[in-house]
Symmetry: C2
Subunit: 228 residues, 2 copies
């Protein structure tokens, strides 16, 4: 069985995001996968990148450089406990699913903080080991999210532009940079403005997709996919 | 004199970001502007969008919807005190400057949390008042940031793609959505990998630009500017 980590950011278990997360846990478990969930709001996950992430002394205490300090702390095993635990989950995962409501063309701050703090140099990348040779290669990632805006607003030529435009920083800038291959995103458009029945169909479609997920090919994560 | 709000996200006053912020405060004050700084790390600004942002009762306590609750709380004046203070600063500002190190093709989580929590519906936008008719129209914004990667990496055809690709969610998806007009970004590429003298030149160039900032025309914030 494969290992799956679901990084989940919604405050309300009864939300569609909560249901999408539960559907994924159920369907993947049924397949024999081992599924772990990082429920960021429930964990009160810390999004701020600060000196508190480094236990004990600093590499250079006269001028604090977060990237350098986190890298050095990673190497000597002195990152804070919450980060070490998240990194262990990532290390063991074959697939990372990010489940969230789109906030301002991106992920909620609590999930951005997970990216900022967990994917430290030395662990996820270490120049020149980035992009195709990133340290998390042989893993897959999938961004599954809900939007406020409609599919028409997020069309090419729509007022909010092609939804793929806003996937670039998340899929290419973060996941591809770490060597992770990216599966096509799973997007539920404007669930707040559709009927209860339509929302149920969204859950069924997600369960359906998950049944054959392991046969999917990653996208070709290059500017062409996003902007052509 | 104009009012300027600098939203600043760096942990270390001695950093280049810290110096860029100081240069802006000095130069704009010299011009007779009234400058306010929101120093997010120093304020220990809360990035997480939670129930704590609403004082007192909820609109719908059986199923928590952050967007709806923040909107309703805004209307009845019961958002948390830190949000009301930030909104007052935004309301009074003619220009918003965002000063930060680029983290993962975007802003640090602490600044994303400022966007998520401060720019609530009713205050910054209220459908159909979005984009050109957003509620913060007649204001300007400028993203000023430092990168880890070099200018070559962030060129069209470079491994990280045109730097403009990653500006879309921040400039269009957030600022333009709220009706704010966007000035050209100010980017210091890879300051950690250049000489002390080069870094000084970066500070001088920023001060120089600020001298004629009020004569600048906003960018044409449409897909062409970003992706053509």
């Amino acid at each position: 069985g494969k290992n799956v980590l679901i990084v989940y950011a919604h405050q309300e278990p009864k939300s569609l995001n909560g249901s999408l997360k539960r559907v994924a846990v159920e369907e993947l478990s049924k397949q024999g996968c081992s599924v772990t969930v990082s429920d960021l709001y429930a964990m009160q996950f810390e999004p701020r990148a600060t000196r508190n992430d480094i236990v004990g002394f600093l590499h250079n205490s006269s001028e604090f450089n977060y990237g350098v300090e986190a890298w050095e702390a990673y190497k000597r095993g002195s990152l804070s406990k919450d980060l070490i635990e998240e990194q262990k989950k990532v290390q063991e995962a074959d697939l990372l699913i990010f489940q969230f409501p789109l906030y301002w063309f991106s992920m909620p701050a609590i999930m951005k903080g997970w990216m900022d703090r967990v994917l430290v140099q030395g662990f996820a990348h270490e120049f020149p080991n980035c992009y195709d040779s990133g340290l998390l290669k042989n893993k897959l990632a999938l961004f599954s999210f809900t939007t406020g805006g409609s599919e028409e607003m997020y069309a090419k030529g729509g007022i909010s532009g092609d939804i793929r435009y806003l996937l670039w920083p998340m899929q290419h800038g973060i996941m591809h940079f770490c060597g992770v291959k990216v599966l096509a995103p799973h997007i539920c458009f404007a669930p707040e403005y559709v009927s209860e029945e339509k929302r149920k169909e969204m859950l069924i479609a997600w369960a359906q997709r998950l049944k054959t997920l392991w046969k999917e090919e990653p996208i070709n994560c290059s500017p062409d996919w996003y902007f052509k």
